[in-house]
């Protein structure tokens, strides 16, 4: 097939460049990105080719294929690119353009509709947000601002997926031990907007973001902690980049907060945890927020626990495949990736795979089933809770 001159819309690439910067135009097609792109390792998706198509302005070709919907937004490509191409912004921009041009990915429709109606991607009623903490000592800061030490921004995934409640409860338990009262936004909590932005809806993202900034500022706390690095990265980094509004409290992942408490001797760890544990760096916590050490410090502080590193860790770690809407759009590819990551984890001889992300949690759990692996999935906070006497 021959590409016609008319199909090369150089005005389109010029427009992209004016909106996200011209770095993609410098791509010299070396393939460094593709060689390590997790999505490309389980599909025909090639981030390098996408950059080339963007340079040539082949917009119809981009919109008509499902290429752009494969990216997990892990950021590996952006970090590795020898020429400093901002691949990730280019991909997200192309997704937004595809949606604008009437080419959204059908499989993302329910997610988008749910967000418009319920402020969460999982088609759940707002009231269901309070279920996980029934009976726990948790303050609803939307009703009683300032009545807690920290605001725990739970994130939609952990809020609605029962399999993760052991983790959210562990957060409350650990902080309780350190004498901290935990606050939440209850049914007023809203999706951070990272996912809708990721699947090409910057406008819905903006509306959520604006309301979130207000809610967080009104909670009357100094610190907000997150279980989900996706939410953390969106609220801490993307809101700033998109100039949504100033957030007053300090934002940190729960592992950062807790590692500090342990360092200060505020948490007593007195029970042996007989596990061999390895840790998977969530892309959004590691590559995006550059938090690598705190989860490791926590695990290493747990008595009786043996810690093993995988071959690919920190900035070099492999994505589990959960992000960027891949799990909704192509669940099989997502689990194939988590299965690959689990294979690396098994090589260490660990009996437990840990992480610090709600998305990774879900996807690694699914991977364990597919692989029929004997390993167990635990969040770092769950492990920590095991080390604390009731």
């Amino acid at each position: 097939m021959v590409i016609k001159q008319e199909e090369m819309d150089l005005e389109f690439s010029k427009k992209l460049a004016s909106e996200i910067g011209e770095s993609f135009q410098k791509c010299f097609q070396c393939g460094t990105c593709t060689a390590r792109c997790p999505a490309g390792n389980v599909s025909q998706y090639r981030v390098r080719k996408l950059m080339r198509m963007a340079q040539l302005g082949l917009k119809d070709k981009i919109f008509d294929s499902d290429e752009i919907w494969n990216c997990t937004t892990c950021s590996t490509c952006k970090i590795l690119c020898p020429w400093g191409v901002d691949t990730l912004s280019t991909i997200l921009k192309l997704r937004a353009e595809a949606v604008k041009a009437g080419h959204p990915l059908k499989k993302h429709d329910p997610l988008v509709k749910s967000l418009l109606s319920y402020d969460n991607p999982w088609l759940q009623p707002r009231n269901a947000r309070t279920k996980w903490y029934k009976g726990l000592d948790v303050v609803d800061l939307s009703k009683n601002p300032g009545e807690a030490d920290v605001l725990y921004y739970v994130g939609c995934t952990a809020t609605f997926d029962k399999r993760l409640w052991n983790m959210t409860k562990a957060v409350v338990k650990v902080l309780g031990m350190a004498g901290k009262t935990v606050g939440v936004l209850g049914k007023e909590e809203k999706c951070c907007g990272g996912t809708v932005r990721g699947v090409g809806h910057p406008d819905i993202f903006r509306s959520l973001a604006t309301r979130n900034v207000e809610d967080i500022n009104n909670a009357g706390v100094d610190t907000v902690i997150f279980s989900c690095p996706g939410c953390l990265n969106t609220i801490m980094n993307t809101y700033r980049k998109e100039e949504i509004g100033e957030i007053r409290p300090k934002l940190m992942h729960v592992v950062e907060y807790v590692a500090e408490l342990i360092n200060e001797g505020k948490i007593k760890l007195d029970k042996d945890v007989k596990r061999v544990v390895t840790y998977h760096d969530p892309c959004h916590l590691g590559k995006h927020c550059e938090v690598y050490e705190p989860p490791r410090e926590i695990l290493k502080a747990v008595p009786g626990l043996k810690f093993k590193e995988m071959d690919f860790v920190k900035v070099n770690s492999w994505c589990c495949g959960a992000g960027g809407g891949l799990k909704t759009a192509f669940p099989d590819r997502a689990t194939e990736l988590s299965s690959n990551r689990l294979e690396q984890a098994e090589k260490t001889g660990a009996d437990t795979i840990t992480s610090a992300c709600s998305f990774c949690y879900q996807n690694l759990l699914d991977g364990l089933v597919v692989r029929k692996s004997k390993m167990e999935m635990k969040d770092v906070m769950e492990i920590l809770a095991e080390a604390i006497e009731e």
Binding site: G40, R46, P82
Partner: protein, 762 residues
């Protein structure tokens, strides 16, 4: 004082952006003492004739040339004007690089050009005749670095009758080439090619070789440089040692050999190669256990345990720096150079040499087995923002050379090359690459994303971009095509001799295109891989050119020096001696009674005039008042201007480069050329503000890179003081800034200009 203004259209280069006729008319309305003309190409013969005719016809006292950067055709205009009046009675207005090309709006550009030209006219009114003097030259040449470039240049120079002093850091001359097996594009044996050259240099009566030596200080002037050299101890008497090797065979020490890049062993007393020059042994003291064996076995009695470091001085007329390159170290990176089976390009050369540690056999270090799949990794540390952005130019060829040679000897070995682009331009080079593919060498077009160690083997993550398939390439031995970087010695010489280097840290010629081996200092030259990565062939070309440049410079017993130097006004001088203390060139002498500038030593940087408490000392060109007048002229046309004092070596070049790149620069930015940022006085910094200027900045060399050693540091101090003064005066010290940049950093100039505009708008 009658001044002729000559404005050039430069075809469309200026004419397309600036309204030249309007400018000409404007300058013809100023009064009788300014007369303006325009022409299509002022640098052409017609243009030059116009200037000469008008000087004569109208009795012009000085000329203003409004055209391209003086770095381009400055010397043409100087010579042309010099035919009629004193060659320093002209001033340029750079309305091409620094105006037409950076100002897209024609009206803005025309207004800016007006201000620039007015500045030049005002300065021209103060120009005076500048004379010259003749000084004797020494016919000796110093060559620093005995690689192929240095050796070849030394032979060329001695053929022309000059005496050469060759200073070499290592125990032998020869450089990197003599460590190789064969060399592209001819595949002839490196040693067979270079040993006749080594021998010629060794036997040449006109060449003195100082091995294990380094230059530590350079003083003096063009034609008469005083060089201080330190020679490290060899612990073997060079006069007595016959290089018989008895000592080496008895020495009990075995350590990894630096010469073999850690691929083989050496004793503590050794010579690096059989053809070493000088052919003498050496004790490396860190590895020597002082057992005394060598002293006992040496029949010549050459072992000298108490040898010491020696310092001595020589005088030369010219200096050539050819201290070469080294390879970028990729240990503990995604390339895993620390893995025993990941080799550098140098390491492969050493094991390929028949006289090397494996007698030329390709054996992998971890277990001594011949690899089944050998993979070359191109662009390792080159063309990558995390390491070096430049292309190292020769690695595509050197990898292909070694791949071909190994394939020819071991047809069954699988050999792959992972690359981004194959850069094989040159006579016979493409044919060389073509042959490699014909031989069955497997070229994979994709950059290696990561090398993953897997026991003794390695897995390379790479996409074959032609088929769009990511591949896990399994290799049992990997050779990196490490990028080239300037050698430590090259970087050292940059600071000892004050040669400016580029953003890539290689030493920079005064003009990459038209003066590739000249530096900004007369009598100091660079050549070979000191300037940029290049193959041997180009080193030889450089060597020939540089020998010719040096011979031209030293051909007469005397050279002419223009007296653009500083002068002391004895009536104002209070004999405090501040200038003499500050001059790094010892150019100011005193007989006790009064102070005087020694013209031949003065480099005309002007730093002295900044420190003199009574303004008794001033430069003849770029005098205090000339600069002030130029600023006056600019502000007369544009009272809101931002004045940017740019140093001749770096800031001004960077501003020109910004123009060449057609960067957008706010028209309020007006450049004033100064020899050195250290020449800018506090008056220069403050005065523009009194006249209404929005801001003032200095664009100087990078710290540690000042061509005049410490001018930019002096400027830094003065800027800090002036900032305080501006704060006190309520103007705001933030409106005065110093920016450091190398001559190659156009974008830095653009950023500085942008920052100034922002600050001045706040």
């Amino acid at each position: 004082m009658k001044i002729g203004v000559f404005i050039c259209f430069c075809g469309n280069n200026i004419g397309g952006y600036v309204n030249v006729p309007e400018l000409t008319d404007y300058f013809n309305t100023l009064g009788d003492d300014v007369i303006a003309f325009n022409t299509t190409f002022l640098c052409s013969e017609i243009g030059q004739d116009l200037i000469k005719d008008k000087i004569e016809e109208l009795n012009l006292d000085a000329v203003v040339v409004a055209s391209c950067s003086p770095k381009h055709h400055g010397s043409i205009f100087q010579n042309c004007i010099g035919e009629k009046i004193n060659q320093y009675r002209w001033e340029f207005a750079n309305i091409r690089e620094q105006c037409a090309w950076t100002t897209p709006n024609k009206k803005d550009a025309t207004e800016k050009a007006k201000a620039i030209i007015m500045g030049a006219i005002e300065k021209a009114k103060l120009l005076k005749d500048i004379g010259s003097t003749r000084v004797p030259v020494t016919k000796d040449v110093l060559i620093i670095g005995g690689g192929i470039t240095g050796m070849h240049a030394s032979l060329e120079l001695t053929d022309k009758g000059f005496h050469v002093h060759m200073v070499e850091k290592k125990e032998t001359i020869g450089g990197n080439m003599v460590r190789f097996d064969r060399v592209f594009p001819t595949d002839d044996c490196a040693m067979c090619t270079s040993s006749p050259i080594l021998a010629d240099v060794a036997m040449n009566k006109l060449i003195d070789i100082y091995s294990l030596s380094e230059v530590v200080e350079v003083k003096g002037r063009p034609g008469e440089y005083k060089i201080k050299i330190v020679k490290r101890p060899r612990y073997v008497d060079e006069k007595k040692c016959t290089a018989c090797g008895e000592c080496t065979s008895h020495c009990p020490v075995e350590v990894w050999s630096e010469w073999d890049e850690g691929m083989g062993l050496r004793a503590a007393i050794f010579k690096p190669l059989a053809q070493a020059v000088p052919l003498k042994n050496r004790i490396e003291r860190d590895s020597c256990i002082r057992c005394g064996t060598c002293e006992n076995v040496c029949k010549a009695g050459a072992v000298l345990y108490d040898d010491t470091e020696r310092e001595f001085e020589i005088t030369v007329g010219a200096i050539l720096v050819c201290t070469g390159y080294e390879l970028i170290d990729l240990t503990n990176t995604e390339y895993h150079q620390e893995h025993p089976n990941v080799l550098t390009g140098f390491q492969l050369e050493r094991i390929k040499v028949p006289s090397g540690p494996t007698a030329g056999e390709i054996l992998r270090p971890s277990d001594g087995k011949m690899p089944e799949h050998l993979v070359f990794v191109q662009c390792a540390g080159s063309r990558d923002r995390r390491y070096n952005v430049y292309c190292s130019k020769i690695c595509c060829m050197y990898a292909t050379k070694n791949a071909r040679l190994i394939k020819a000897e071991n047809p069954h070995m699988k050999i792959s090359v992972c690359y981004i682009d194959m850069r094989t331009a040159g006579r016979g080079y493409e044919e060389f690459f073509d042959k490699a593919r014909e031989m069955g060498i497997n070229y994979i077009r994709g950059n290696v994303s990561e090398i993953v160690p897997d026991g003794e083997d390695l897995i390379l993550k790479v996409e074959d971009t032609f088929t769009s398939e990511p591949i896990d390439v399994r290799a049992d031995m990997v050779v990196l095509s490490n990028g080239l970087i300037p050698s430590q010695g090259t970087k050292d010489m940059s600071s000892v001799i004050h040669i400016v280097s580029g953003a890539d840290k290689f030493l920079a010629p005064v003009h990459v295109k038209i003066a590739p081996v000249d530096t900004a200092s007369k009598g100091i030259y660079i050549a070979g891989t000191t300037e940029a990565p290049k193959p041997i062939q180009e080193c030889i070309t450089d060597a020939g050119l540089v020998a010719s440049r040096i011979a031209t410079f030293l051909k007469d017993p005397e050279i002419e020096i223009d007296l653009t130097t500083s002068k002391i006004n004895p009536e104002v001088c209070i004999k405090c001696g501040t200038c003499a203390e500050n001059c790094v060139y010892d150019a100011i002498e005193t007989s006790g009674e009064f102070y005087e500038v020694r013209d031949v030593s003065c480099q005309a940087c002007g730093k002295c005039s900044v420190t003199c408490p009574t303004n008794a000392i001033d430069l003849s060109l770029f005098s205090e008042d000339q600069i002030i007048k130029q600023v006056d002229g600019i502000l007369h046309e544009d009272p809101d201007a931002i004045i940017g004092y740019c140093c001749y070596q770096c800031g001004y070049n960077a501003a020109d480069l910004a123009g060449t790149a057609k960067a957008n620069i706010d028209p309020s930015i007006k450049v004033v050329l100064v020899p050195c940022s250290g020449r800018v006085t506090m008056q220069h910094m403050l005065y523009p503000f009194f006249k209404g200027a929005k801001g003032v900045f200095l664009a100087a060399c990078l710290e540690g890179q000042c061509h005049y050693i410490d001018g930019n540091l002096q400027a830094k101090e003065k800027v800090a003081l002036s900032k305080k003064a501006l704060d006190i005066m309520g103007v705001g010290g933030r409106k005065l800034n110093l920016f450091n940049m190398s001559s190659a950093e156009g974008p830095k100039f653009v950023a500085a200009a942008k920052r100034m505009v922002e600050i001045c708008q706040e």
